[in-house]
Symmetry: C2
Subunit: 705 residues, 2 copies
């Protein structure tokens, strides 16, 4: 193809520029803290030409059906510049009206301050936190490469879409971008394409970005006049598409505030575009200086033609898919099931079931057994580890690595991703894999290093991406690695993230239950916190019961109990032993296992009250920070508290264990051993306290508000 410039190109680009000024100015006028030109308007105006060329000449999507599976994906990684994206969506005919543009950054509008997946039609991923969108796009490109390799057949190029990203210097500075870019280069992800623009970053950012991306094995192009050289922009994108074994980045040089009286000066950066400057710019670009939200009919008409091209593309693809069904019925059924986001019937029958006589096993190992079983029926799984495969046990023996064929280390059909030591990149890439559809991504690392990826994890939750973290070595039980690797606070953090579901299974059946619920929850991100050490299979645990998030493991007749101990993960079996010790001394003690707070919280009140019932004190027991437990429970008994009790340095009661003995010694320092006299002893103190206090003991679930 060659580029045929038409008059309407300039009109359309100017429409975008002028509209962006109106959108941003209207939002600014509503409140005192006006955004600077650079923050909100710099990208929309600077990227107007390349956006216009990309969407009118290259982009393959159907605005009338934004979910079409083989659509090109577009990501605005510099999400604060989303006025641009909203304008393009509007011009192309997505479900976004001119009135919606006028509601930019307002309460309940479809045009929020940063683009959000699942909220606004046509938004592929939620962006704004810098570096995320770029890294999501690497996930989108991996998804395309993988599904294409698995399902495309000679004559049936079904999965062929491209991924396009716009980003700015802010994204380029973030470490997560470096991680994802290095991996993308290694993976030779050809259909990825990124367009970046220069900002005013001399104070902190003088590296040579083009050289850096060449070092990552990227194809690097640049356009010197991004404001006017439409032919150059077209050629760069066209050239990028011809490179088949590398991702491409195009560095676009633009004049900041092009069209403003202050264009290219330092003054334009810090303050909003002034009213008189806006007016002269509108006049310069051929618009009524006093008019606002002006879109020429010719622009609408030109973009309507682009949209028609998309409708045609989709219907051709549907026809291809129909004939694929005839020739490859099995693949067709599987692919379309995956596109619908459904799991195969009866997949859950592959989940392993345990009885108490089965050998004690680490839950990271139990997780490996689950993965081994379910991967035989769930080709949807595309997982990996951040360079801890041997510790996380995330790689099923039969798996092939996801690698470029030229490396001879695997192929794009492979389902196991070697993420490298790049936790944040892995988290953001998983969000892209989930956003693409047809894929259930999982990623392994130590629980402690999920924190490195916190920026991506909260976006998984917010966006409702089905992402699974396999987070092993989940407490002080990890042994000799010491406090730098002890995730005391991590579960509290994850529990506090809205919409994220945290699991801490206590044995085999609970591990199976956590996978059952996590895989059936198609709009939920889950973190599975797993032990390094062996855990016995518990009397009373079943997949069904654990699937409710919490249940009674050790019951006594109603009304007879002196105490309920609530626990999770590796501490549950110790709680049971403590209950047995107390029983010998004449106390009746219940034990409840609460592997997932969020899932338990979603059960009906009657059920929850039957687990955490009134009548006796309830104590929590977890080898982690106590923070959060008291929301549901009365007394907490966990590492934090034990540290205060048994502080190694009296002067510093909040000290973590400084020395990091092998597992058993480590748990011993905190009296978290088995059998554990201290758990029983403290249980007795609580019973006595309540006895002395007198009065009714009410479940913490009974609340005033």
């Amino acid at each position: 193809m060659t580029f045929q410039k038409v008059d309407i190109d300039d009109i359309s680009i100017n429409t975008i520029r002028v509209l962006a000024a109106d959108v941003v100015n209207k939002a600014n006028s509503g409140h005192p803290g006006k955004s600077s030109f650079e923050l909100r308007l710099g990208a929309p105006m600077g990227l107007a030409p390349v956006a216009h060329i990309l969407f009118t000449r290259f982009f393959n999507a159907n605005p009338k059906h934004s979910e079409w599976f083989n659509r090109d994906r577009f990501v605005l990684s510099n999400g604060h510049g989303c006025a641009l994206q909203y304008i393009l969506l509007h011009l192309l005919g997505y479900k976004l009206s001119l009135d919606d543009l006028k509601q930019f950054r307002q309460l309940d509008s479809l045009t929020p301050g940063h683009p959000e997946h699942g909220h606004t039609d046509g938004i592929e991923v939620t962006t704004g936190p810098l570096g995320q969108g770029f890294s999501n796009a690497v996930g989108l490109a991996i998804a395309q490469a993988h599904l294409g390799a698995v399902y495309n057949k000679p004559g049936f190029d079904l999965i062929t879409n491209h991924t396009y990203v716009f980003l700015g210097d802010g994204c380029l500075m973030e470490g997560v971008t470096s991680e994802a870019a290095s991996l993308a280069g290694h993976l030779q992800l050809a259909p990825g394409l990124d367009i970046s623009i220069d900002g005013d970053t001399a104070v902190a950012f003088t590296e040579i970005v083009e050289e850096r991306f060449r070092a990552y094995n990227w194809h690097v192009l640049h356009v010197d006049d991004g404001d006017q050289d439409l032919q150059g922009i077209y050629n760069a994108i066209e050239k990028a598409k011809q490179v088949k074994d590398k991702p491409t980045i195009i560095r676009l040089r633009t004049i900041i505030g092009y069209g403003s009286k202050q264009q290219g000066t330092h003054g334009i950066h810090g303050s909003p575009l002034k009213p008189d400057d806006t007016e002269q710019m509108k006049a310069k670009f051929g618009f009524d200086p006093k008019g606002t939200f002006q879109v020429p009919e010719a622009t609408y008409a030109f973009y309507a033609d682009v949209a028609k091209r998309g409708v045609k593309s989709e219907s051709e693809w549907e026809a291809l898919l129909a004939s694929y069904e005839t020739k490859y019925p099995r693949e067709h059924a599987e692919l379309t099931r995956r596109i619908r986001g459904e799991l195969p019937n009866g997949w859950e029958k592959t989940l392993p079931v345990y009885k108490p006589s089965d050998a004690a096993t680490a839950s990271r190992k139990l997780s490996e057994i689950v993965l081994t079983k379910i991967s035989t029926v769930l080709p949807d799984l595309l997982g990996g580890s951040a360079d801890l495969t041997g510790s996380n046990l995330t790689r099923v023996k039969e798996a092939e690595d996801f690698q470029p064929p030229s490396t001879k280390l695997g192929s794009y059909k492979g389902t196991y991703i070697r993420y490298g030591v790049r936790e944040h990149g892995m988290g953001a890439i998983m969000n892209g894999l989930a956003a693409y559809g047809g894929i259930i991504p999982f990623g392994g690392t130590f629980l402690n290093f999920v924190s490195y990826a916190a920026g991506a994890v909260r976006l998984s939750a917010l966006s409702g991406h089905q992402v699974l973290w396999i987070a092993t070595h989940d407490s002080i039980g990890l042994g000799e690695d010491g406090p730098t690797h002890q995730p005391i606070e991590t579960i509290a953090h994850l529990r506090a993230i809205p919409k994220l579901v945290v699991w801490r299974p206590a044995d085999g059946n609970e591990t199976s239950a956590s996978y059952l619920v996590a895989l059936n929850s198609k709009k939920t991100a889950s973190v599975l916190c797993l032990s390094r050490q062996n855990l016995p299979n518990l009397e009373g645990s079943t997949i069904e019961r654990a699937s409710r998030g919490g249940y009674v493991l050790r019951e006594v007749p109603a009304g007879t109990e002196n105490l309920t101990i609530v626990s999770t993960g590796s501490e549950v079996s110790i709680a049971v032993e403590a209950a047995n010790v107390l029983e010998k001394e004449g106390f009746k003690v219940r034990v409840a296992s609460l592997p997932s707070w969020e899932v338990f919280d979603a059960q009906d009140t009657k059920y929850r009250l039957s687990v955490l019932r009134s009548g006796a004190p309830i104590v929590s027991f977890e080898a982690l920070s106590t923070l959060g437990w008291a929301n549901n429970l009365v007394w907490t008994f966990s590492v934090h508290r034990l540290l205060i009790k048994k502080s190694i340095k009296n002067t510093d009661s909040l000290l973590l264990v400084r020395a990091f003995p092998p597992y058993l010694q480590c748990m011993y320092v905190f009296n978290v051993t088995s059998p554990s006299p201290d758990v029983a002893e403290l249980g007795k103190k609580i019973i006595t306290f309540y006895k002395n206090k007198g009065g009714e003991v009410v479940s913490p679930l009974v609340k005033a508000i």
Copy 2:
């Protein structure tokens, strides 16, 4: 200088190699999960030659006084290879015996699984979580450049030390390393020097590292035979020291397992060094194959000479410092005060004090006022922002930027660092600045993006580095940016990190108090969570009272109250208004402000009970996740709960606000407005609940255990 190889060089290098094998094997023999060669022994053996050359020929430090201020700093960024560092510390005569080496990775030993600052003599920074050490070293180098620029005078080169880092491919893959490396290149930090070795990372890491570092404006060298070419190693380090305007990275190629029967093969990577292989290696290197922990007297003697060189260096430096005192008494007094880690007498008198009639002000602005005042008396402050200076208000007007003079943007004397959009790098660099001494680092970003730096924040806390985070836009009050920027869960996370102190001041005096305590706590990292919106100055708040972490702001006669509302930050003034509303209806309501849980927890029990006293229900009120509050309180009333009550989408009660109205509208969605009828209404429900329930209401601080 030129390199004079002596026989003892080979003997010493082989001593390190053989000793490393013994140290690691002994630790492995104690427990079942043996570490692979690559993980624990690869770096110690591969880096033995360069470590020997560096420490015997270049390194300037006094092992008998590891705190000497102008010592060279050494960082082992690949902390899992710490057997190497412990061996070197032992040979050089630091407080680490051969017996300590035998206790590698054991309970309470001085040789834990990863090197820890403050625990083992001679360890500058805690490493292990990958990428941190490298980034700490950038902080160490900034500190040297800054203090040198400020205090060195003609003829008085007092602050001249070098910073050396060893790192592996794992560190090079982490995003935090990319962030710190790019900034170090921009800052032209000449005395920084990094030595990296290749690992077996073909599956995920094929980028051209040397090109990447050249893109960052680093000086790049390489040594092809890192196992034997001592002259080459010497020359590379010497050459690096001659480059004055760039940091240098030396890529060292080594044969993995050099000396093992399996050297250079794939087999060496995954499993420990086998006993027979260890024996043949010992024989090959000239040691008794059956002996363990063998150190030839000649090696000790050679290293003892090196240590003597350090003693001499320090005493020469002390003499120089003494004559500096004569010529520059003011600078001498200030520098030595800073080296001692003391603050100037009376510095706290500069803290601003407010009365209720003073104008309502955003706490980010109150923070700026504090910084403006205290920076006049505290040259120790060296701060910056991750590209949000205009929003965080972290830059004092008179400040000069910390920049290489050649940029004409500032100088190394400057106290304001332009970190770029690099939150994680900033956090890790601040740890390095604090570890160097004489500097109090602070860094600004949105509270939401402190999460990007979580890996560094927990190490600040664990290491006891005095680091201040200026975390603005601290709840949904940030307005239109929306849920991608709403740090609902962040404070719960930070509160759960042991040893980290979190502040959320409610007004001017509380903001001053948070700085007072944070700056006086020389071994504590603090996060100051600050509002974007204006907050009224409260009747009853004083610096002194707020310095206790919690206090009663609105009191009623003891025994008469119906309710106590406890709140923090921007919600405290709303709690006071709610109390006033309830008073009109005949209820007596106390309000307590709890700006810092950790500081409040450290007060005596009697005081704490006087604030959260028995007799009436206590409710918490915070526009954040409720997680954690119930540890101290009975009912929680915050964004999480309100979301459930007022869920915008009924199907998803844990949804964050999808639309992001301007501040007041946003708070209104959650009924967190002022005056707030809902706070009062819910308060009444709680009062009624307890009235109906009957019985004594006991303070949550009264516990059984």
